[in-house]
């Protein structure tokens, strides 16, 4: 039970971050239009910040999509499978996704570590490794979520059709 509460807390934290970043994204993009068109100026750091925010929003969104296994798939075959086969096949593809995400997160983490030790600056004094941090974190979380989905495919009820395509 305590694990479930922890997971719920993490999800709410993610949601809050996501909403905050999206709000900043919209506000910055809007401010740039006003500044550019009315005052013929603009914030130098706004454009690169907006681009990094897009990356963060995308990965936070991808993490949210992984909660119910709602990433884009080809569901042609899976839909036609008999119920008895569907659960193990779904569990298998979940494990595949989890494995790939793990490898990806590992290599992304290596990149972040390299940037950290090289002290690369992304823009306006922001270290590159901070901007990139969401890539390993994001894929690690997505991987863990698919790992957790796999056994739930076998339980009847809430989890059984958790991977129903959108």
């Amino acid at each position: 039970m305590r694990l479930e509460r922890l997971l719920a807390l993490i999800e709410r934290l993610e949601d809050a971050t996501l909403v905050l970043l999206m709000a900043v994204l919209v506000a910055l993009a809007g401010a740039q239009i006003v500044l550019r068109n009315l005052f013929d100026s603009g914030l130098v750091w706004a454009d690169p910040t907006v681009r990094v925010l897009v990356l963060w929003v995308a990965l936070l969104g991808a993490m949210a999509a992984a909660r119910q296994g709602r990433h884009i798939t080809v569901d042609l075959v899976a839909r036609a499978l008999p119920a008895r086969l569907a659960a193990p096949v779904r569990a298998l593809t979940d494990l595949f996704a989890a494995g790939v995400c793990g490898v990806l997160a590992w290599h992304a983490a290596r990149l972040v570590a390299m940037e950290w030790s090289a002290g690369t600056v992304a823009f306006a004094g922001l270290p590159a490794w901070i901007a990139q941090l969401i890539v390993p974190v994001g894929f690690a979380v997505i991987g863990l979520r698919y790992l957790a989905l796999a056994p739930r495919r076998f339980t009847v009820g809430a989890g059984a059709d958790a991977g129903a395509s959108r």
């Binding site: 949601d15 809050a16 996501l18 909403v19 999206m22 994204l25 919209v26 993009a29 809007g30 740039q32 239009i33 550019r36 454009d47 907006v50 681009r51 990094v52 897009v54 990356l55 929003v57 995308a58 990965l59 936070l60 969104g61 991808a62 993490m63 949210a64 999509a65 296994g69 709602r70 990433h71 884009i72 798939t73 080809v74 569901d75 042609l76 075959v77 899976a78 096949v89 779904r90 298998l92 593809t93 595949f96 996704a97 790939v100 995400c101 490898v103 990806l104 290599h107 992304a108 290596r110 990149l111 390299m114 901007a131 990139q132 890539v135 390993p136 698919y146 991977g163 959108r166």
Partner: protein
């Protein structure tokens, strides 16, 4: 070869596509002795494309519009102005759906948001059940070719990243989609008017028109400003997206008060889920595409196809078949990101303009949405209206034939796509 086969199998069995592509890229780099962290470097390029900003912003605007009662007002408005014509309600369906899809991009949303309003209205207005079902299912993907639809933007982004053939801008792409999109609407409208020519007409009344205009007065400036701004060249696409989302937020949350503030986090999350799903595929595809180009796969593919197919016309014919098949199986965003990097170099090799290829690609994908027997919209409509998929297949077949004609015209008459963009 075994790895490629295994990955294909994983994709067919329903593994998330981003994971399949990422695995391919990781394996590819590993096998050719390149540090696999190159995949992460390529993925990070998502943060280096300024136009990408348009995708989360337009998606959010679309989800907000879908949550409000803007669809009711859109239907009311088109009904007041087009409802008096023969086949009037059918025209209303076509125009309202095309506009809504252009602004919301992902086409399943249109059937769910507008179909629920239009299908009962059509039935009440005396239109046949089969005709109404077919029309609503078909209209669910209409409008993909009009600015600022997300698939159009995504094609532009992918093509710009590849940099093969003549360069294209998003503005040119928006112009290119205009006439082909109108052709689709016009052909469907003609067919609908002809099949419903015996329907009794409802007269046009100024009273109703005024009421509809009044109800929609806040949304009315939106298409004018966004489309006028983009087509007129006043706005960059990402600026138009920012203006749209701010304006939609203001009118639906503050003026109409149809979206309570506490619903915003959920809507933001839903929009971001969709954006994230598309962009992770784009991100990992940047890596796999880079690897494919490094291995000269597109060039070899072109050579192989050229040894069999000599004329551009035959190539286009085969392309139509292939794209129809893909459109049935693949999500449109996934198809764009995965297939365009392979197709574009080939098409350029046959002397096809990248702008034209984009329009042909999307037109085919639109058709793929309801190609029997497995087009996605058939299932969405079946779920939404509680009808058998087989019934929907029968119902949408005549519309399929009409749109197939449109797609063929678009494919073999490049000027239709290229004339407005001046090339």
């Amino acid at each position: 070869m075994t790895v490629a086969f295994g990955l294909l199998l994983a994709a067919l069995l329903g593994a998330p596509l981003f994971a399949v592509i990422a695995a391919a890229a990781l394996w590819g780099f590993y096998a050719s002795d390149i540090d696999p962290s190159a995949v992460a470097i390529e993925f990070y390029r998502l943060a280096e494309m300024p136009v990408l900003l348009a995708i989360p912003l337009f998606t959010l605007a679309g989800y907000l519009l879908g949550e409000s009662r803007a669809p009711d007002r859109l239907v009311g408005l088109t009904r007041a102005f087009l409802g008096w014509m023969p086949g009037g309600l059918a025209l209303v369906t076509l125009v309202a759906c095309a506009l809504f899809t252009a602004f919301t991009g992902a086409s399943g949303v249109t059937i769910v948001a507008l179909g629920a309003l239009l299908y009962p209205a059509l039935r009440q207005g005396g239109y046949g059940e089969r005709f109404s079902l077919g029309l609503v299912t078909t209209s669910g993907s209409l409008g993909l070719l009009f600015a600022p639809s997300l698939p159009l933007i995504l094609y532009g982004i992918v093509a710009q990243q590849l940099g093969v053939g003549r360069s294209i801008t998003l503005d040119e792409l928006f112009l290119a989609g205009l006439l082909p999109g109108l052709l689709m609407v016009a052909l469907l409208a003609g067919y609908s008017m002809w099949t419903n020519r015996t329907q009794p007409l409802t007269p046009f009344t100024w009273r109703e028109a005024k009421a509809a205009l009044r109800a929609a007065r806040w949304e009315l400036p939106l298409p004018v400003v966004v489309l006028g701004g983009i087509y007129g060249g006043y706005f960059a696409v990402s600026e138009a997206a920012a203006a749209t989302v701010l304006y939609v937020l203001a009118i639906e949350v503050l003026v109409h008060r149809e979206i309570p503030l506490r619903a915003l986090p959920r809507i933001v999350r839903e929009a971001a889920t969709m954006v994230g799903g598309v962009l992770v595929i784009l991100g990992v595809s940047l890596a796999s595409t880079n690897y494919l180009i490094d291995q000269q796969v597109p060039a070899r593919l072109l050579e192989a196809v050229r040894s069999v197919v000599s004329s551009p016309l035959t190539f286009l014919l085969l392309l139509n078949g292939l794209l129809l098949l893909l459109g049935m199986m693949l999500d449109i965003f996934a198809a764009l990101v995965i297939v365009v990097p392979l197709l574009l170099p080939m098409a350029v090799g046959y002397g096809i303009d990248p702008l034209h290829l984009g329009i042909v690609f999307l037109a085919n994908m639109q058709l793929g949405y309801f190609t029997p027997p497995v087009g996605m919209n058939l299932f969405i409509a079946s779920f939404r209206f509680g009808k058998d998929v087989a019934e929907l297949v029968r119902a949408s077949l005549p519309f399929f034939v009409v749109l197939l004609v449109a797609v063929l015209v678009i494919t073999y008459w490049p000027a239709l796509s290229l004339a407005l963009a001046g090339r």
